[in-house]
Protein backbone atom coordinates (compact mmCIF):
# COMPACT_ATOMS: atom_id res chain seq x y z
CA UNK A 1 0.00 0.00 0.00
CA UNK A 2 2.79 2.36 0.95
CA UNK A 3 4.55 1.44 -2.24
CA UNK A 4 1.54 2.50 -4.29
CA UNK A 5 1.37 5.84 -2.50
CA UNK A 6 5.05 6.40 -3.28
CA UNK A 7 4.48 5.75 -6.94
CA UNK A 8 1.73 8.32 -6.95
CA UNK A 9 3.97 10.93 -5.36
CA UNK A 10 6.67 10.29 -7.94
CA UNK A 11 4.12 10.45 -10.75
CA UNK A 12 2.77 13.75 -9.53
CA UNK A 13 6.24 15.23 -9.27
CA UNK A 14 7.07 14.19 -12.83
CA UNK A 15 3.72 15.62 -13.93
CA UNK A 16 4.69 18.96 -12.43
CA UNK A 17 8.04 18.88 -14.23
CA UNK A 18 6.25 17.98 -17.48
CA UNK A 19 3.80 20.84 -16.96
CA UNK A 20 6.67 23.30 -16.60
CA UNK A 21 8.28 21.95 -19.77
CA UNK A 22 4.96 22.29 -21.63
CA UNK A 23 4.66 25.89 -20.47
CA UNK A 24 8.22 26.73 -21.55
CA UNK A 25 7.77 24.77 -24.77
CA UNK A 26 4.70 26.62 -25.88
CA UNK A 27 6.28 29.94 -24.92
CA UNK A 28 9.31 29.15 -27.08
CA UNK A 29 7.03 28.02 -29.89
CA UNK A 30 5.71 31.58 -30.09
CA UNK A 31 9.09 33.07 -31.03
CA UNK A 32 10.88 32.54 -34.32
CA UNK A 33 14.35 31.95 -32.88
CA UNK A 34 13.28 29.30 -30.37
CA UNK A 35 10.32 27.63 -32.07
CA UNK A 36 12.10 24.41 -33.05
CA UNK A 37 13.51 23.93 -29.55
CA UNK A 38 10.12 24.68 -28.07
CA UNK A 39 8.59 21.87 -30.07
CA UNK A 40 11.29 19.44 -28.90
CA UNK A 41 10.83 20.51 -25.31
CA UNK A 42 7.09 19.95 -25.46
CA UNK A 43 7.65 16.54 -27.07
CA UNK A 44 10.02 15.68 -24.23
CA UNK A 45 7.41 16.79 -21.72
CA UNK A 46 4.89 14.54 -23.43
CA UNK A 47 7.30 11.62 -23.32
CA UNK A 48 8.00 12.06 -19.59
CA UNK A 49 4.33 12.36 -18.72
CA UNK A 50 3.40 9.27 -20.73
CA UNK A 51 6.36 7.21 -19.46
CA UNK A 52 5.71 7.93 -15.80
CA UNK A 53 2.02 7.11 -16.21
CA UNK A 54 3.05 3.64 -17.33
CA UNK A 55 4.30 2.93 -13.78
CA UNK A 56 0.76 2.23 -12.70
CA UNK A 57 -1.40 0.66 -15.32
CA UNK A 58 -4.68 -1.12 -15.03
CA UNK A 59 -5.20 -1.86 -18.69
CA UNK A 60 -3.58 -4.87 -20.29
CA UNK A 61 -0.12 -3.94 -21.56
CA UNK A 62 -0.85 -5.65 -24.86
CA UNK A 63 -3.72 -3.25 -25.52
CA UNK A 64 -1.52 -0.29 -24.72
CA UNK A 65 1.36 -1.43 -26.89
CA UNK A 66 -0.97 -2.19 -29.76
CA UNK A 67 -2.66 1.20 -29.47
CA UNK A 68 0.51 3.26 -29.12
CA UNK A 69 2.43 1.42 -31.83
CA UNK A 70 -0.43 1.43 -34.32
CA UNK A 71 -1.34 5.04 -33.53
CA UNK A 72 2.29 6.11 -33.67
CA UNK A 73 2.74 4.39 -37.01
CA UNK A 74 -0.40 5.91 -38.55
CA UNK A 75 0.37 9.37 -37.17
CA UNK A 76 3.99 9.31 -38.30
CA UNK A 77 3.10 8.03 -41.75
CA UNK A 78 0.50 10.75 -42.27
CA UNK A 79 2.88 13.41 -40.95
CA UNK A 80 5.78 12.35 -43.17
CA UNK A 81 3.80 11.61 -46.30
CA UNK A 82 1.51 14.63 -46.31
CA UNK A 83 2.22 17.38 -48.81
CA UNK A 84 2.88 20.73 -47.22
CA UNK A 85 -0.03 22.19 -49.15
CA UNK A 86 -2.35 19.78 -47.34
CA UNK A 87 -1.29 21.02 -43.90
CA UNK A 88 -4.57 22.77 -43.01
CA UNK A 89 -6.66 19.63 -43.36
CA UNK A 90 -3.98 17.52 -41.63
CA UNK A 91 -4.02 19.77 -38.58
CA UNK A 92 -7.81 19.55 -38.55
CA UNK A 93 -7.68 15.76 -38.73
CA UNK A 94 -5.15 15.33 -35.90
CA UNK A 95 -7.13 17.77 -33.84
CA UNK A 96 -10.23 15.67 -34.38
CA UNK A 97 -8.43 12.54 -33.19
CA UNK A 98 -7.43 14.30 -29.99
CA UNK A 99 -11.07 15.22 -29.45
CA UNK A 100 -12.14 11.64 -30.12
CA UNK A 101 -9.67 10.35 -27.53
CA UNK A 102 -11.16 12.56 -24.81
CA UNK A 103 -14.65 11.58 -25.95
CA UNK A 104 -13.77 7.90 -25.45
CA UNK A 105 -12.08 8.58 -22.10
CA UNK A 106 -15.21 10.27 -20.78
CA UNK A 107 -17.37 7.48 -22.16
CA UNK A 108 -15.25 4.94 -20.32
CA UNK A 109 -15.58 6.97 -17.11
CA UNK A 110 -19.35 6.98 -17.50
CA UNK A 111 -19.29 3.19 -17.32
CA UNK A 112 -17.50 3.32 -13.96
CA UNK A 113 -19.68 2.58 -10.94
CA UNK A 114 -20.20 5.19 -8.21
CA UNK A 115 -19.80 8.41 -10.13
CA UNK A 116 -20.71 11.37 -7.95
CA UNK A 117 -23.16 13.95 -9.32
CA UNK A 118 -20.27 16.29 -10.01
CA UNK A 119 -18.31 13.60 -11.83
CA UNK A 120 -21.40 12.74 -13.83
CA UNK A 121 -21.73 16.37 -14.94
CA UNK A 122 -18.02 16.46 -15.86
CA UNK A 123 -18.37 13.27 -17.88
CA UNK A 124 -21.20 14.77 -19.90
CA UNK A 125 -19.38 18.05 -20.50
CA UNK A 126 -16.21 16.26 -21.60
CA UNK A 127 -18.18 14.02 -23.95
CA UNK A 128 -19.91 17.05 -25.41
CA UNK A 129 -16.77 19.11 -26.01
CA UNK A 130 -14.71 16.13 -27.17
CA UNK A 131 -17.45 14.89 -29.48
CA UNK A 132 -18.03 18.27 -31.07
CA UNK A 133 -14.28 18.69 -31.54
CA UNK A 134 -14.10 15.31 -33.23
CA UNK A 135 -16.99 15.49 -35.69
CA UNK A 136 -16.50 19.23 -36.24
CA UNK A 137 -12.85 18.67 -37.12
CA UNK A 138 -13.79 15.90 -39.53
CA UNK A 139 -16.14 18.27 -41.33
CA UNK A 140 -13.43 20.94 -41.35
CA UNK A 141 -11.09 18.31 -42.81
CA UNK A 142 -13.64 17.52 -45.52
CA UNK A 143 -14.14 21.17 -46.36
CA UNK A 144 -10.43 21.99 -46.44
CA UNK A 145 -9.55 19.05 -48.63
CA UNK A 146 -12.54 19.97 -50.82
CA UNK A 147 -14.04 16.52 -50.47
CA UNK A 148 -17.12 17.98 -48.88
CA UNK A 149 -19.01 20.49 -50.94
CA UNK A 150 -22.14 20.93 -48.88
CA UNK A 151 -22.52 24.45 -47.63
CA UNK A 152 -24.95 26.79 -46.06
CA UNK A 153 -28.53 26.54 -47.22
CA UNK A 154 -28.67 22.94 -48.31
CA UNK A 155 -31.36 20.74 -46.81
CA UNK A 156 -28.92 18.34 -45.10
CA UNK A 157 -26.99 21.21 -43.56
CA UNK A 158 -30.18 22.60 -42.07
CA UNK A 159 -31.01 19.24 -40.49
CA UNK A 160 -27.60 19.11 -38.82
CA UNK A 161 -27.88 22.72 -37.68
CA UNK A 162 -31.18 21.85 -35.99
CA UNK A 163 -29.49 18.90 -34.28
CA UNK A 164 -26.78 21.26 -33.06
CA UNK A 165 -29.34 23.50 -31.40
CA UNK A 166 -31.18 20.47 -30.05
CA UNK A 167 -27.96 19.20 -28.48
CA UNK A 168 -27.78 22.12 -26.05
CA UNK A 169 -30.95 21.35 -24.08
CA UNK A 170 -29.97 17.68 -24.36
CA UNK A 171 -26.67 18.49 -22.64
CA UNK A 172 -28.53 20.20 -19.80
CA UNK A 173 -30.83 17.20 -19.52
CA UNK A 174 -28.04 14.64 -19.25
CA UNK A 175 -26.15 16.77 -16.75
CA UNK A 176 -29.08 17.09 -14.34
CA UNK A 177 -30.63 13.69 -15.06
CA UNK A 178 -29.27 11.81 -12.02
CA UNK A 179 -29.92 14.62 -9.56
CA UNK A 180 -33.48 15.23 -10.71
CA UNK A 181 -34.37 11.73 -11.81
CA UNK A 182 -37.53 11.79 -9.68
CA UNK A 183 -38.78 15.03 -11.22
CA UNK A 184 -38.02 14.94 -14.91
CA UNK A 185 -39.35 12.38 -17.36
CA UNK A 186 -37.12 9.36 -17.86
CA UNK A 187 -35.62 8.85 -21.27
CA UNK A 188 -34.55 5.24 -21.74
CA UNK A 189 -30.93 4.81 -22.86
CA UNK A 190 -30.53 8.58 -22.91
CA UNK A 191 -26.77 8.19 -22.80
CA UNK A 192 -26.51 6.44 -26.17
CA UNK A 193 -28.81 9.02 -27.71
CA UNK A 194 -26.64 11.76 -26.24
CA UNK A 195 -23.48 10.23 -27.71
CA UNK A 196 -24.96 10.19 -31.19
CA UNK A 197 -26.53 13.63 -30.83
CA UNK A 198 -23.19 15.12 -29.75
CA UNK A 199 -21.46 13.82 -32.86
CA UNK A 200 -24.28 15.13 -35.06
CA UNK A 201 -24.05 18.49 -33.29
CA UNK A 202 -20.38 18.85 -34.21
CA UNK A 203 -21.30 18.37 -37.85
CA UNK A 204 -24.04 20.99 -37.58
CA UNK A 205 -21.64 23.37 -35.86
CA UNK A 206 -19.03 23.46 -38.63
CA UNK A 207 -21.02 22.58 -41.76
CA UNK A 208 -22.60 26.02 -42.36
CA UNK A 209 -19.33 27.91 -41.90
CA UNK A 210 -17.83 28.94 -45.21
CA UNK A 211 -14.31 28.53 -46.58
CA UNK A 212 -12.98 32.03 -45.85
CA UNK A 213 -14.01 31.72 -42.21
CA UNK A 214 -12.10 28.45 -41.85
CA UNK A 215 -9.07 30.02 -40.08
CA UNK A 216 -11.36 30.99 -37.22
CA UNK A 217 -13.06 27.60 -37.02
CA UNK A 218 -9.79 25.68 -37.06
CA UNK A 219 -8.37 27.82 -34.25
CA UNK A 220 -11.56 27.40 -32.25
CA UNK A 221 -11.63 23.61 -32.68
CA UNK A 222 -7.97 23.56 -31.65
CA UNK A 223 -8.90 25.46 -28.51
CA UNK A 224 -11.82 23.11 -27.81
CA UNK A 225 -9.64 20.01 -28.04
CA UNK A 226 -7.44 21.50 -25.33
CA UNK A 227 -10.38 22.35 -23.13
CA UNK A 228 -11.73 18.82 -23.57
CA UNK A 229 -8.36 17.42 -22.43
CA UNK A 230 -8.36 19.77 -19.43
CA UNK A 231 -11.86 18.57 -18.45
CA UNK A 232 -10.74 14.98 -18.82
CA UNK A 233 -7.92 15.92 -16.43
CA UNK A 234 -10.45 17.16 -13.88
CA UNK A 235 -12.33 13.93 -14.33
CA UNK A 236 -9.28 11.74 -13.79
CA UNK A 237 -7.80 14.08 -11.16
CA UNK A 238 -4.66 14.48 -13.22
CA UNK A 239 -2.82 17.80 -13.09
CA UNK A 240 -0.66 17.50 -16.22
CA UNK A 241 -3.78 16.96 -18.32
CA UNK A 242 -5.29 20.08 -16.83
CA UNK A 243 -2.22 22.26 -17.38
CA UNK A 244 -1.43 21.04 -20.90
CA UNK A 245 -5.09 21.13 -21.94
CA UNK A 246 -5.57 24.66 -20.61
CA UNK A 247 -2.48 25.89 -22.45
CA UNK A 248 -3.83 24.52 -25.71
CA UNK A 249 -7.23 25.99 -24.95
CA UNK A 250 -5.69 29.39 -24.30
CA UNK A 251 -3.44 29.40 -27.37
CA UNK A 252 -6.33 28.33 -29.60
CA UNK A 253 -8.46 31.07 -28.11
CA UNK A 254 -5.81 33.69 -28.82
CA UNK A 255 -5.48 32.61 -32.43
CA UNK A 256 -9.27 32.66 -32.76
CA UNK A 257 -9.36 36.23 -31.50
CA UNK A 258 -6.48 37.30 -33.76
CA UNK A 259 -8.29 35.82 -36.77
CA UNK A 260 -11.61 37.41 -35.89
CA UNK A 261 -9.92 40.79 -35.41
CA UNK A 262 -8.23 40.47 -38.78
CA UNK A 263 -11.71 40.21 -40.28
CA UNK A 264 -13.16 42.93 -38.06
CA UNK A 265 -15.95 40.60 -37.02
CA UNK A 266 -17.03 39.08 -33.76
CA UNK A 267 -16.65 35.37 -33.17
CA UNK A 268 -20.41 34.87 -32.77
CA UNK A 269 -20.99 36.64 -36.07
CA UNK A 270 -18.58 34.30 -37.83
CA UNK A 271 -19.97 31.15 -36.24
CA UNK A 272 -23.67 31.78 -36.30
CA UNK A 273 -24.43 34.49 -38.83
CA UNK A 274 -22.04 34.30 -41.73
CA UNK A 275 -21.52 36.99 -44.29
CA UNK A 276 -24.81 36.92 -46.13
CA UNK A 277 -26.84 38.58 -43.41
CA UNK A 278 -24.15 40.63 -41.71
CA UNK A 279 -24.91 43.72 -43.77
CA UNK A 280 -27.15 44.91 -46.53
CA UNK A 281 -26.31 43.81 -50.02
CA UNK A 282 -23.24 45.49 -51.40
CA UNK A 283 -23.91 48.58 -53.46
CA UNK A 284 -24.15 47.78 -57.13
CA UNK A 285 -23.26 51.23 -58.38
CA UNK A 286 -21.57 51.76 -61.71
CA UNK A 287 -18.15 50.16 -61.33
CA UNK A 288 -16.54 51.08 -64.61
CA UNK A 289 -14.51 48.88 -66.87
CA UNK A 290 -11.81 46.36 -66.16
CA UNK A 291 -8.52 46.60 -68.03
CA UNK A 292 -7.16 43.17 -68.90
CA UNK A 293 -3.51 42.72 -69.86
CA UNK A 294 -1.40 39.82 -71.11
CA UNK A 295 1.64 38.26 -69.45
CA UNK A 296 3.85 39.99 -72.05
CA UNK A 297 2.66 43.44 -70.98
CA UNK A 298 2.96 42.44 -67.35
CA UNK A 299 6.55 41.38 -67.94
CA UNK A 300 7.43 44.71 -69.57
CA UNK A 301 6.05 46.64 -66.62
CA UNK A 302 7.70 44.38 -64.06
CA UNK A 303 11.06 44.64 -65.80
CA UNK A 304 11.09 48.39 -65.18
CA UNK A 305 9.70 48.29 -61.65
CA UNK A 306 12.00 49.06 -58.76
CA UNK A 307 9.79 47.72 -56.01
CA UNK A 308 7.23 44.91 -56.13
CA UNK A 309 4.83 43.68 -53.47
CA UNK A 310 3.31 40.22 -53.88
CA UNK A 311 -0.01 39.67 -52.09
CA UNK A 312 -1.01 36.00 -52.15
CA UNK A 313 -4.37 34.54 -51.20
CA UNK A 314 -6.21 31.26 -51.25
CA UNK A 315 -6.08 31.30 -55.07
CA UNK A 316 -2.32 30.82 -54.93
CA UNK A 317 -2.83 27.70 -52.81
CA UNK A 318 -5.43 26.35 -55.22
CA UNK A 319 -3.26 26.97 -58.27
CA UNK A 320 -0.20 25.59 -56.40
CA UNK A 321 1.63 28.63 -57.71
CA UNK A 322 3.97 29.22 -54.75
CA UNK A 323 7.03 27.75 -56.49
CA UNK A 324 6.71 29.86 -59.65
CA UNK A 325 5.98 32.87 -57.44
CA UNK A 326 9.27 32.32 -55.62
CA UNK A 327 11.05 31.91 -58.94
CA UNK A 328 9.57 35.15 -60.22
CA UNK A 329 10.60 36.88 -56.99
CA UNK A 330 14.20 35.70 -57.37
CA UNK A 331 14.37 36.77 -61.02
CA UNK A 332 13.00 40.19 -60.07
CA UNK A 333 15.63 40.53 -57.36
CA UNK A 334 18.37 39.62 -59.81
CA UNK A 335 16.96 42.37 -61.99
CA UNK A 336 17.50 44.85 -59.15
CA UNK A 337 13.90 45.01 -58.01
CA UNK A 338 13.02 45.05 -54.34
CA UNK A 339 10.53 42.25 -53.67
CA UNK A 340 8.33 41.86 -50.61
CA UNK A 341 5.42 39.64 -49.77
CA UNK A 342 2.40 41.16 -48.04
CA UNK A 343 0.70 38.52 -45.94
CA UNK A 344 -2.76 39.14 -44.51
CA UNK A 345 -3.46 37.10 -41.36
CA UNK A 346 -6.62 35.55 -42.76
CA UNK A 347 -5.44 34.96 -46.32
CA UNK A 348 -5.98 31.27 -47.03
CA UNK A 349 -7.77 28.64 -45.04
CA UNK A 350 -5.93 28.51 -41.74
CA UNK A 351 -3.92 30.89 -39.58
CA UNK A 352 -0.60 31.50 -41.28
CA UNK A 353 -1.51 29.45 -44.37
CA UNK A 354 0.39 31.72 -46.79
CA UNK A 355 3.50 31.72 -44.60
CA UNK A 356 3.61 27.93 -44.71
CA UNK A 357 3.13 27.80 -48.48
CA UNK A 358 5.84 30.36 -49.17
CA UNK A 359 8.17 28.70 -46.69
CA UNK A 360 7.60 25.43 -48.52
CA UNK A 361 8.65 27.17 -51.73
CA UNK A 362 11.81 28.40 -49.95
CA UNK A 363 10.91 32.06 -49.68
CA UNK A 364 13.00 33.58 -46.89
CA UNK A 365 10.72 34.65 -44.10
CA UNK A 366 12.27 38.06 -43.63
CA UNK A 367 10.71 38.99 -46.98
CA UNK A 368 7.23 38.39 -45.54
CA UNK A 369 5.55 41.51 -44.19
CA UNK A 370 2.32 42.08 -42.29
CA UNK A 371 -0.29 44.62 -43.44
CA UNK A 372 0.81 47.23 -40.88
CA UNK A 373 4.36 47.07 -42.23
CA UNK A 374 3.50 47.56 -45.89
CA UNK A 375 0.47 49.87 -45.82
CA UNK A 376 2.25 53.10 -44.76
CA UNK A 377 4.75 52.91 -47.63
CA UNK A 378 2.31 51.55 -50.20
CA UNK A 379 2.49 54.61 -52.47
CA UNK A 380 6.20 53.96 -53.07
CA UNK A 381 5.49 50.47 -54.44
CA UNK A 382 5.66 50.34 -58.24
CA UNK A 383 3.72 47.14 -58.77
CA UNK A 384 1.54 45.20 -56.35
CA UNK A 385 0.79 41.70 -57.64
CA UNK A 386 -2.37 40.22 -56.13
CA UNK A 387 -2.40 36.45 -56.62
CA UNK A 388 -5.74 34.85 -55.93
CA UNK A 389 -6.56 37.16 -53.05
CA UNK A 390 -9.77 39.14 -53.02
CA UNK A 391 -11.44 40.23 -49.82
CA UNK A 392 -8.16 41.01 -48.06
CA UNK A 393 -7.36 43.66 -50.69
CA UNK A 394 -10.89 44.99 -51.17
CA UNK A 395 -10.81 48.80 -50.80
CA UNK A 396 -14.51 48.78 -49.82
CA UNK A 397 -13.24 47.85 -46.37
CA UNK A 398 -11.76 51.31 -45.96
CA UNK A 399 -13.86 53.41 -48.34
CA UNK A 400 -17.42 52.19 -48.43
CA UNK A 401 -19.39 52.41 -45.22
CA UNK A 402 -22.21 49.89 -45.17
CA UNK A 403 -20.23 47.29 -47.04
CA UNK A 404 -20.33 43.95 -45.20
CA UNK A 405 -16.56 44.04 -44.88
CA UNK A 406 -16.29 47.72 -43.91
CA UNK A 407 -13.70 48.17 -41.17
CA UNK A 408 -11.77 45.01 -41.93
CA UNK A 409 -8.02 45.74 -41.98
CA UNK A 410 -6.76 45.14 -45.52
CA UNK A 411 -3.56 45.35 -47.52
CA UNK A 412 -4.12 48.64 -49.31
CA UNK A 413 -2.72 47.65 -52.71
CA UNK A 414 -4.97 50.20 -54.42
CA UNK A 415 -2.52 52.87 -53.20
CA UNK A 416 0.34 51.31 -55.13
CA UNK A 417 1.30 52.86 -58.48
CA UNK A 418 0.15 49.83 -60.46
CA UNK A 419 -1.80 46.78 -59.34
CA UNK A 420 -1.83 43.46 -61.16
CA UNK A 421 -4.68 41.17 -60.18
CA UNK A 422 -4.25 37.54 -61.17
CA UNK A 423 -7.62 35.90 -61.21
CA UNK A 424 -9.50 33.15 -62.96
CA UNK A 425 -12.67 35.12 -63.59
CA UNK A 426 -14.61 38.11 -62.33
CA UNK A 427 -16.40 36.18 -59.59
CA UNK A 428 -16.45 37.84 -56.19
CA UNK A 429 -14.55 36.56 -53.17
CA UNK A 430 -15.75 34.49 -50.27
CA UNK A 431 -17.63 37.42 -48.76
CA UNK A 432 -19.70 37.72 -51.93
CA UNK A 433 -18.82 41.40 -52.17
CA UNK A 434 -17.89 43.01 -55.46
CA UNK A 435 -14.33 44.31 -55.37
CA UNK A 436 -13.93 47.91 -56.65
CA UNK A 437 -10.18 47.31 -56.83
CA UNK A 438 -10.70 45.55 -60.16
CA UNK A 439 -12.14 48.71 -61.68
CA UNK A 440 -9.58 51.20 -60.38
CA UNK A 441 -7.60 53.38 -62.77
CA UNK A 442 -4.27 51.76 -61.78
CA UNK A 443 -5.46 48.14 -61.84
CA UNK A 444 -4.68 45.66 -64.60
CA UNK A 445 -6.35 42.27 -64.68
CA UNK A 446 -4.34 39.24 -65.70
CA UNK A 447 -6.97 36.54 -66.23
CA UNK A 448 -6.20 32.84 -66.18
CA UNK A 449 -4.55 30.24 -63.98
CA UNK A 450 -2.07 31.95 -61.67
CA UNK A 451 0.57 29.27 -62.12
CA UNK A 452 0.44 29.55 -65.90
CA UNK A 453 0.39 33.33 -65.95
CA UNK A 454 3.37 33.65 -63.66
CA UNK A 455 5.11 30.80 -65.45
CA UNK A 456 4.88 32.84 -68.66
CA UNK A 457 6.33 35.91 -66.95
CA UNK A 458 9.16 33.79 -65.56
CA UNK A 459 9.85 32.41 -69.03
CA UNK A 460 10.03 35.95 -70.43
CA UNK A 461 12.53 36.93 -67.75
CA UNK A 462 14.72 33.99 -68.60
CA UNK A 463 14.81 34.83 -72.32
Amino acid sequence: MENLANIQVIQNMVYIISSVMFILGIKMLGKEATAVKGNYLSALAMFCAVAITCLSLEIDVKIILAGVLLGGLIGSLIAIKVKMTAIPEMVALFNGFGGLATFLIAWSQFNEPDNSLFQHALVMLTIYIGGITFSGSLIAYGKLSEKLKLGKGSMITNVFISLFYLSMPALIYVVVEPSLSGFIPQVPSYFSIFLVLTLMAGIGFVMPIGGGDMPVVISLLNSLSGIAAAFAGLLLLNNVLIVAGSLVGASGLILTIIMAKAMNRTITNILFVGYASSGQAASSEEQGEVKPITSDDAYLILENASSVLVVPGYGMAVAQAQHVVREMGELLEENGTEVKYGIHPVAGRMPGHMNVLLAEANVSYDLLAEPDDVNPSMDTIDVAIVIGANDVVNPSATEEEGSPIYGMPIIEVHNAKTVFVLKRSMSSGFAGVQNPLFFKENTRMLFGDAKESIGQIVAEFKD
Binding site: I23, I26, L29, G30, K31, E32, A35, V36, G38, N39, Y40, S42, M46, A49, V50, C54, E58, I63, G67, V68, L70, G71, G72, I74, G75, I78, A79, V82, M84, I87, M90, V91, F94, N95, A101, L104, I105, S108, N111, F118, G226, A232, L234, N239, V240, L241, I242, A244, G245, L247, V248, A250, G252, I254, P345, M350, P351, G352, N355, S364
Partner: protein, 90 residues
Protein backbone atom coordinates in the same frame (compact mmCIF):
# COMPACT_ATOMS: atom_id res chain seq x y z
CA UNK B 1 -14.70 17.99 -3.41
CA UNK B 2 -11.69 19.86 -1.98
CA UNK B 3 -9.59 18.18 -4.65
CA UNK B 4 -11.82 19.60 -7.39
CA UNK B 5 -11.55 23.12 -6.00
CA UNK B 6 -7.78 22.80 -6.03
CA UNK B 7 -7.68 21.38 -9.55
CA UNK B 8 -10.18 23.99 -10.72
CA UNK B 9 -7.73 26.57 -9.41
CA UNK B 10 -4.93 24.95 -11.43
CA UNK B 11 -7.21 25.00 -14.49
CA UNK B 12 -7.96 28.70 -14.22
CA UNK B 13 -4.38 29.69 -13.51
CA UNK B 14 -3.12 27.65 -16.47
CA UNK B 15 -5.59 29.32 -18.82
CA UNK B 16 -4.49 32.77 -17.68
CA UNK B 17 -0.86 31.74 -17.93
CA UNK B 18 -1.48 30.50 -21.48
CA UNK B 19 -3.20 33.72 -22.48
CA UNK B 20 -0.29 35.77 -21.09
CA UNK B 21 2.39 33.58 -22.68
CA UNK B 22 1.13 33.73 -26.23
CA UNK B 23 -0.63 37.04 -26.53
CA UNK B 24 1.72 38.29 -29.25
CA UNK B 25 2.72 35.79 -31.89
CA UNK B 26 4.23 36.75 -35.27
CA UNK B 27 1.90 35.60 -38.06
CA UNK B 28 4.68 33.46 -39.55
CA UNK B 29 4.29 31.19 -36.54
CA UNK B 30 0.49 30.98 -36.45
CA UNK B 31 0.38 27.61 -38.18
CA UNK B 32 3.30 25.99 -36.30
CA UNK B 33 1.92 27.26 -33.01
CA UNK B 34 -1.50 25.84 -33.81
CA UNK B 35 -0.02 22.55 -34.93
CA UNK B 36 2.30 22.39 -31.91
CA UNK B 37 -0.56 23.15 -29.53
CA UNK B 38 -2.56 20.49 -31.32
CA UNK B 39 0.20 17.96 -30.58
CA UNK B 40 0.09 18.97 -26.91
CA UNK B 41 -3.64 18.28 -26.79
CA UNK B 42 -2.57 14.69 -27.44
CA UNK B 43 -1.84 14.72 -23.67
CA UNK B 44 -5.17 12.92 -23.62
CA UNK B 45 -2.91 9.89 -24.12
CA UNK B 46 -1.96 10.15 -20.43
CA UNK B 47 -5.65 10.16 -19.57
CA UNK B 48 -6.26 7.17 -21.80
CA UNK B 49 -3.50 5.22 -20.03
CA UNK B 50 -5.15 5.88 -16.67
CA UNK B 51 -8.42 4.23 -17.65
CA UNK B 52 -9.45 1.14 -15.79
CA UNK B 53 -9.97 -2.21 -17.35
CA UNK B 54 -13.19 -3.96 -16.46
CA UNK B 55 -14.77 -5.93 -19.20
CA UNK B 56 -14.55 -5.94 -22.94
CA UNK B 57 -16.34 -2.65 -23.51
CA UNK B 58 -13.87 -0.76 -21.30
CA UNK B 59 -10.96 -2.38 -23.09
CA UNK B 60 -12.30 -1.34 -26.46
CA UNK B 61 -12.83 2.23 -25.29
CA UNK B 62 -9.34 2.36 -23.78
CA UNK B 63 -7.79 0.96 -26.94
CA UNK B 64 -9.61 3.52 -29.08
CA UNK B 65 -8.58 6.39 -26.82
CA UNK B 66 -4.93 5.27 -26.79
CA UNK B 67 -4.90 4.74 -30.55
CA UNK B 68 -6.35 8.12 -31.49
CA UNK B 69 -4.39 10.05 -28.87
CA UNK B 70 -1.19 8.40 -30.17
CA UNK B 71 -2.00 9.44 -33.75
CA UNK B 72 -2.50 12.96 -32.44
CA UNK B 73 0.77 13.00 -30.50
CA UNK B 74 3.07 11.46 -33.11
CA UNK B 75 1.45 13.14 -36.10
CA UNK B 76 1.23 16.50 -34.39
CA UNK B 77 4.86 16.73 -33.28
CA UNK B 78 6.23 15.43 -36.57
CA UNK B 79 4.17 17.77 -38.74
CA UNK B 80 5.12 20.73 -36.54
CA UNK B 81 8.77 19.83 -36.78
CA UNK B 82 8.58 19.44 -40.55
CA UNK B 83 6.88 22.77 -40.84
CA UNK B 84 9.36 24.59 -38.61
CA UNK B 85 12.32 23.17 -40.51
CA UNK B 86 11.01 24.92 -43.63
CA UNK B 87 11.14 28.34 -42.01
CA UNK B 88 14.65 29.51 -42.44
CA UNK B 89 16.36 32.77 -43.09
CA UNK B 90 18.53 32.95 -46.14
Amino acid sequence: MEMYVLLGFVLLLSIFLGLELISKVPSTLHTPLMSGANAISGIALVGALMLSSAGQMQDILAFGAILFASINVFGGYLVTNRMLSMFKKK
